[in-house]
């Protein structure tokens, strides 16, 4: 029939690409930089992680070896910290997503017709970056400490139990992680939602979907690139963070994360192979988790 004449053939991706020596030449500084500052330390790290203590040496002196038992030992010794790291990072990512999505939706979709309000809100999202990360975390330590004005007033008003405390608890650490990484979630979400075509939402409601279903079936899938980018930008640094969980900041003895353990092994115990092995485990675990996540969220064709 007539329509058959309009059947399309799928467009073939362009495969022919001319190889030019100029392109290689232009890539050279980048390649050199990567080899020097990424590949070399990585190889050094791998080699360190396999070192064995020197037979006649002092503490902190190691020889090159193939001591893969280092990995077994650190996993045996530090598995609670490894689990805690990913647990806290996951919680912080989920909270950041829950808080950021409505904010990003408001700035990107609802405030579209008011550019001034939009810019003002964006500045407010970025404003905390103007102050040092460490200072902000210290400020929260003050606010969450037992003697702080807020905690004492809440107790006086009986909104908090008299023996309640926050300093050094997992709550404080997850709170700090969420707070510190929230802009990394809000900004990518905002950029996708800002481009969200509201005509799809209208089409959804025209096709009998109530506002919740439209959100679930149309808005969320269409903002998936932002969700994936935001969660990665939050989860990866949060999993490796060692400031929030540190005893000097918001953490306590029971909230130590992998970053804190690596720091302690490297700077206090001078156990360089253990620190290196832990670093590589952290890196590998993040790579695997991120790979599975990106594959599962099925956003390759949306990105």
């Amino acid at each position: 029939m007539a329509f058959a004449a309009f059947a399309t053939t799928e467009a073939q991706p362009q495969t022919t690409r001319r190889k030019s020596p100029i392109a290689l030449f232009l890539l050279l500084p980048g390649i050199l930089y990567l080899v020097l500052f990424f590949l070399t330390p990585l190889i050094s790290l791998i080699l360190t992680s396999l070192q064995a203590p020197s037979e006649f040496g002092d503490i902190g002196v190691y020889d090159y070896a193939f001591n893969w038992q280092n990995y077994v030992t650190v996993i045996q010794d530090y598995w609670p910290h490894i689990l805690r790291s990913f647990g806290y990072a996951l919680l912080a990512t989920v909270f950041a997503l829950l808080f950021s999505y409505p904010i990003a939706y408001f700035i990107g979709v609802k405030a579209r017709r008011r550019p001034l309000l939009q810019s003002l809100l964006l500045v407010l999202v970025i404003a905390p970056f103007f102050i040092s990360f460490l200072l902000r975390t210290l400020a929260w330590k003050q606010i969450l400490s037992d003697e702080s004005l807020i905690i004492t007033s809440l107790k006086a008003l009986s909104l908090l139990a008299p023996d309640a405390y926050f300093a050094g608890t997992p709550f404080a650490v997850v709170f700090g992680l969420t707070y510190n990484f929230i802009p990394f979630m809000t900004l990518p979400l905002y950029t996708t939602l800002e481009r969200l075509d509201t005509r799809y939402l209208e089409a959804g409601s025209d096709l009998y979907a109530n506002s919740f279903t439209v959100f679930r079936k149309v808005t969320i899938p269409l903002s998936m690139p932002g969700i994936v980018a935001g969660t990665l930008l939050t989860f990866i640094p949060a999993a490796g963070d060692y400031v929030n969980a540190s005893r000097d900041f918001l953490g306590g003895p029971d909230t130590q994360m992998m970053g804190n353990v690596i720091e302690a092994n490297f700077l206090v115990l001078l156990n360089y192979p253990a620190a290196a092995a832990l670093s590589i485990i952290l890196m590998a675990a993040i790579l695997v988790l991120v790979g599975v996540y990106v594959k599962r969220s099925g956003t390759e064709d949306l990105l």
């Binding site: 329509f3 058959a4 399309t8 799809y200 089409a203 025209d206 096709l207 009998y208 979907a209 949306l302």
Partner: protein, 399 residues
């Protein structure tokens, strides 16, 4: 009627005293409209006339400032878009880019929990002959294919009322003709009520049973396409729906059957029954294809208007017909369409011609054309200049 079941047949649409104001402007002044069940109704108008707003009000995507909307006799004014037995084919198609074609088409059925959504969606895709592309994504389809998917996605729900928002605007001419036929066939097959919004007068006339011409937020005239074309009631309709030659003048004589108007010294007679007004200043008109071109002065015939001599200032050949622009002293320029029955034009630029038409073919309007629309939008500066000069000469001769 519940949203959970298919419409057995199309439903009436009734708009009562609809008004829609946006901050800063009024999109719809006051609109009363009844569309009978099972009809193919076209809302025709230039951009910004309020036709798309009307459609969005019916779909539930906008709320009216005042007035009621009734579908199948039921007041739906206060219901949300997803609760109305209405589906829209959007101008931009708005196919969900993250879903396959089949999931797009089945979307509405799944929301209403209608059983066998996949099978029904495949049937709808077969109707538009795209079932072989069911697993593709919208971005992999051409514009015409996307348009057909959008149509399938709407009609698969068997809505009591189907809204079409200039869905054919993005298609090329050939595909558009084909889709027009296809839409008409589908409408007749499934018996739904179609409300079609367009600015293409030809599309509206070929497809719809009833056309309503909208201008500045109100309906100017409504009726069957032939009726609107042959007997326009306002200058806007006369010029928006095809072309018209209009003459404004005082009524100098009225009988039972005919009314004569004095336009710039020429007497033009119109059937009394075909005129809206019969007293004072009246605008009368005739369609260009009803006018006959004469190379020599013809004899005066009863029941026929005769104008001339005039001068041909432009000849444009358009295949089946040729358009002659003739400047007639006293009345300005006139357009004449002549079928190309012989090779070559009947008259050349600059030649002297006479024009005549049947009194029965004229019509009298209820208003005068705006100053600006005295010149058709596509008139060239030369014809405007000629028209101005003629007007000046008439004025000087008259004084």
């Amino acid at each position: 009627m519940s949203i959970r079941e298919f419409a057995e047949s199309g439903a009436d649409l009734e708009l009562v005293g609809i008004q829609k104001r946006f901050p800063g402007f009024t999109a719809i002044e006051e609109l009363d409209l009844t569309i009978p069940a099972g009809s193919f109704f076209a809302l025709l108008g230039p951009s910004g006339c309020g036709k798309t707003t009307t459609l969005r009000l019916v779909a539930g995507l906008e709320e009216p400032t005042a007035g009621r909307i009734l579908i199948g006799g039921k007041d739906v004014t206060d219901t949300k878009a997803h609760q109305r037995p209405v589906n829209t084919v959007f101008q931009s198609y708005a196919l969900f880019p993250h879903m396959s074609i089949i999931d797009n088409v089945a979307f509405g059925l799944k929301r209403r929990r209608i059983g066998d959504a996949q099978t029904k969606a495949h049937e709808a895709l077969k109707l538009v002959e795209l079932d072989h592309l069911a697993q593709r994504r919208p971005a992999q389809l051409s514009g015409g294919q996307q348009q057909r998917v959008a149509l399938a996605r709407a009609i698969v729900n068997r809505p009591a009322l189907l809204l079409l928002d200039e869905p054919l605007g993005a298609l090329d001419l050939k595909l558009r003709r084909q889709m027009q036929l296809e839409l008409k066939t589908i409408q007749e097959e499934v018996g739904l009520t179609f409300l079609h919004v367009t600015h293409d007068q030809e599309e509206a006339m070929t497809m719809a049973d009833t056309v309503a011409v909208m201008n500045k937020g109100a309906i100017e005239q409504m009726g069957a396409p032939e009726e609107l074309y042959e007997l326009p009631r306002t200058a806007f309709v006369a010029n928006f729906l095809g072309k018209s030659n209009l003459f404004t003048g005082d009524v100098v004589g009225t009988t039972e059957s005919a009314m004569t108007v004095d336009a710039g010294g020429h007497r033009i007679t119109v059937a009394t029954a075909r005129s809206q007004r019969h007293r004072g200043l009246v605008t009368v008109g005739v369609r260009p294809e009803k006018v006959t071109l004469h190379a020599e002065q013809p004899d005066e015939v009863a029941d026929r208007n005769l104008l001339g001599p005039g001068r041909v200032i432009d000849v444009s050949f358009a295949g089946v017909s040729t358009e002659y622009i003739v400047a007639v002293p006293g009345v300005g320029t006139m357009s004449v369409f002549a079928q190309n029955m012989t090779f070559g034009p009947v008259a050349h630029e600059g030649s002297e011609v006479w024009l005549s038409w049947d009194v029965e073919h004229g019509f009298g309007l209820s208003d005068e054309p705006d100053e600006s629309s005295r010149f058709p939008a596509d008139a060239d500066t030369q014809s405007i200049a000629v028209q101005r000069r003629e007007a000046l000469i008439t004025e000087l001769e008259g004084s």
